[in-house]
Symmetry: C2
Subunit: 231 residues, 2 copies
């Protein structure tokens, strides 16, 4: 059990190069929590109680608008940490978090984490690195929202998926969507209907075959061309 916790800690970039002893010390100050799919970890504006690490499953960090629309800022899988920032600057959470699947997380209270950082200065540097990559991703989101259409964002997402976990077949590259259209829409910064429509259209244009949540990319180079054309 505690072993398991140690393994998770070791896998997170933040604590990658600590000694066994240090990991054990940290593990002792760690608690575990489970969340069911769709369950809520915290809401935007909640005061920050500590740092989270994903042990298994996936967590969605998102903004919620007054009218109920969501905009995903990040999806964190096993080994990722999140909410590092409010832990440091003492502010509230700038966004909400919910479980995309049944998920297990580790939790370290603000105080414990801050103390740990004081004792291990290089962890502080790691925090900067992690926050830095997060910042780059946010800039990427801004770029997409500001410069591209829903269609282009959807294509970009499919291409990313195809790259990451697509399996080649005789028809093309098979990709599995692991979320509902609703969830995809939240990632793309749009609404369900547009995801549905754009998928249909891409199919009609011959780039894809869509069958439920399975997609076969039939014309990868064509898609790549579409992504950048007439921007």
């Amino acid at each position: 059990m505690s072993n398991d916790t140690g393994a998770v800690l070791k896998k997170t970039p933040l604590f990658a190069n600590l000694t066994e002893g240090e990991l054990r010390a940290l593990a002792a100050r760690t608690s575990r929590k489970r969340f069911r799919q769709g369950e809520h970890l915290f809401a935007e504006g909640d005061s920050c109680t500590g740092l989270f690490l994903v042990a298994s499953g996936r967590i969605r960090i998102f903004k919620l608008s007054a009218s109920g629309r969501e905009q995903v800022l990040a999806v964190e899988g096993p080994g990722s940490s999140f909410a590092e920032l409010p832990v440091f600057d003492g502010g509230n959470y700038p966004a909400a978090a919910s479980a995309l699947e049944d998920t297990e997380v580790l939790f370290i209270s603000r105080k414990d984490f801050q103390n740990f950082c004081r004792e291990h200065p290089d962890v502080g540097l790691k925090v900067i690195a992690v926050v830095g990559s997060r910042l780059r991703r946010l800039v990427g989101i801004i770029e997409e929202l500001s410069f591209t259409t829903v269609r282009q964002r959807l294509i970009a997402l499919i291409l990313r998926l195809a790259q990451a976990d697509g399996t080649p077949s005789n028809e093309g590259i098979r990709v599995e969507l692991t979320k509902s259209h609703q969830d995809l829409a939240a990632e793309l910064g749009t609404v369900r209907e547009l995801v549905s429509r754009n998928l249909s259209r891409l199919q009609a244009e011959g780039f894809l075959d869509v069958e439920g949540r399975k997609i076969v990319v039939k014309d990868l180079p064509g898609l790549k061309r579409e992504q950048t054309s007439t921007e």
Copy 2:
């Protein structure tokens, strides 16, 4: 001269609580550069050579799209630092920077700054704080782009200006736009024409009086209502 440099350093949050001696040491490793209005400090993707501090003037950090549109990420005035991140993670600049006015900046090379951070660990913590507030601002931009219309963003901007440096008059609150419509459009993530049109429309609706770059907010509460309605 060097005195002046010290004063600027003292004013930047990053180095706020250093001793006189430390400031002098840092000032010695600092160089000054001047940029004319519209001049270019660096482009997106340039490799990062060091940290910038604004001494006077204003710097615009922005993304540039393939089609030539710009999206402003931040405007930094005197006392602000920027490009902290690539200095740390060694990556390239994620965005471009240009001078909004004639501007003087201080420059510290990557190596010098990293060494300085190693000698002064609390500067590292400051970096986290600065990067943190930057991250919060980026999240705010994403929220605006994803959830609001150009009209609402424009209203929000005017309200911010009115708050920050509006002067009351008998007609209403006087606000001065310090930039062209083009620049405003880049901040709002849209194009010149929409800024122009929306300003006219707000005037026609009686919320504002526009006269060149001077705006008189006639109906502040009304504007505030408009900002949130029918989101």
